[in-house]
Symmetry: C2
DNA sequence: TGGCTTTCTTGATTTGTGTCAATTTCTGTT
DNA sequence: AACAGAAATTGACACAAATCAAGAAAGCCA
């Protein structure tokens, strides 16, 4: 899921930025990082605010510093589908593209570290490693999107919920550098409605299935958002999922 | 959907290969094309044959020369979801990845032009334009996958069918360099079962909705596979889709 | 041409999820 | 502590799509 440092370059801090930008390759030497420093700026958003609308001109690329943002697609009649979840260090934006392809919305208070697109692209042209790093990240996202297609097209509501919970649990484990086995505890970063938009369900169905998983002892709930999974293997079985979980992370 | 030549480099023929490889950038001069020539070879498959299994080692990248291949994901119990459709000139394979992420299957007789992965990667390292071209293609695929997520998660069976038909019609138009308006005619390259796997439906539902669209005059059918659309705008309305159709192409 | 298989269509019935509506629980504010 | 608004739960019912089951049409090969 994530290669160790000696196998492949990983993200790097640039200047005073509190996060490691996954788009920036550790093999690229300080010259490039100093260039980044010059073209970067910060923007913050309140929970619920829209970062960009689908189709709008987007003259920057960015990393999430803190908070959570979602990528959503919407139909004219209001049906919406979440197509991606942005967590700290995640990258957003398309070098070589004028316009945003999705709505980007802050679901919590959000801080982003932005780079003006043109100079960023110029740097990419001069720095093959960054282009390759970005290609690799995009391929990861593509894999994640396609795994999600299987979920959306073929899984039952219960399996969908179990899949989402297991992904969030494993991402949490990864952040804390722990293995994702046995008993685990975490907070849901999403409302029931956001979960529904992610899974292609209604919020009522999400709620019902959460209750069912609780009733069946697959999860325990403390309040609405704090989840503990007594047995991760059981949960992953419920998810109907043999994958190692390279999901939308 | 596809930028004109003067805006961005497009695909190019290399040597005797009958197709334009979309992965190869026209800005890259003949040196690189000659290098490609040295590392390329052809493989052919019969309809129904598997090109690679998910998880298998895949030591090449390739372009489709002729025929159609599908990318599918499968669950242990056999539920399958198609996650991509490969048409002539489409690229498959992941520079920087060891293993295939999906099953690749020939749905018709298939000819592929393959490049051994290592030398291809080396060339990418030396030729920034190719890496950038590949990044752009991958971003296109990502957009397509995400548009498909909206379809899988939120569209009705009828809308799904209409979407698929309109995509195929528009791709056909693009290949023949015609506008996709008014009356259009094309052959379905997929069985009802493949359509179902693509759309997250059963083949019975696909059949029923095809009949319904026919009954309602949205499409005309001659045999099972030959479709004519009297009015493309009507079809796109049925698809519930305001997009300009940058789909899995 | 005739049989054979595969692909597709159509019907009857079941089931999972959506819809609508009422209530409860949580969270933040004064 | 009490209230207000948001978020979540639960129930009753409706409906779209799945499932089960025949049968028809198309393609293929002898």
């Amino acid at each position: 899921m994530m290669a160790p440092d000696d196998v492949h370059p990983v993200s790097l801090r640039c200047g005073d930025c509190p996060i490691r930008h996954r788009a920036v390759c550790a093999r690229c030497e300080s010259d490039e990082l100093e260039q980044l420093e010059e073209i970067k700026y910060y923007r913050s958003f309140e929970a619920g605010q829209t970062v960009v609308w689908s189709g709008d001109k987007m003259d920057f690329v960015a990393s999430v510093v803190s908070g959570i943002a979602t990528l959503t697609q919407t139909m004219e009649d209001g049906r919406t589908q979440m197509v991606g979840l942005l967590l700290p260090s995640d990258f957003v934006g398309r070098p070589g593209r004028e316009c945003a392809a999705y709505n980007v919305t802050a679901t919590t208070d959000l801080m982003m570290c932005c780079f003006r697109k043109k100079p960023f692209e110029d740097m990419m042209g001069r720095t093959p490693h960054i282009a390759q790093r970005l290609l690799e990240m995009t391929l990861d996202e593509l894999d994640a999107a396609r795994e999600w297609m299987l979920l959306l097209g073929r899984k039952t509501a219960r399996e969908k919920i179990a899949s989402l919970l297991s992904i969030i649990a494993r991402r949490d484990a990864a952040v804390q550098m722990r293995a994702a086995h046995g008993r685990m505890t975490f907070d849901l970063p999403l409302t029931r409605e956001a979960m529904a938009d992610y899974l292609g369900l209604t919020l009522e169905t999400v709620s019902r299935q959460m209750s069912a998983l609780k009733r069946d002892g697959v999860i325990e709930l403390e309040g609405k958002r704090h989840v503990t999974v007594p047995d991760m293997d059981r949960l992953m079985e419920e998810a109907g999922d043999d994958s190692d979980g390279g999901f939308l992370v």
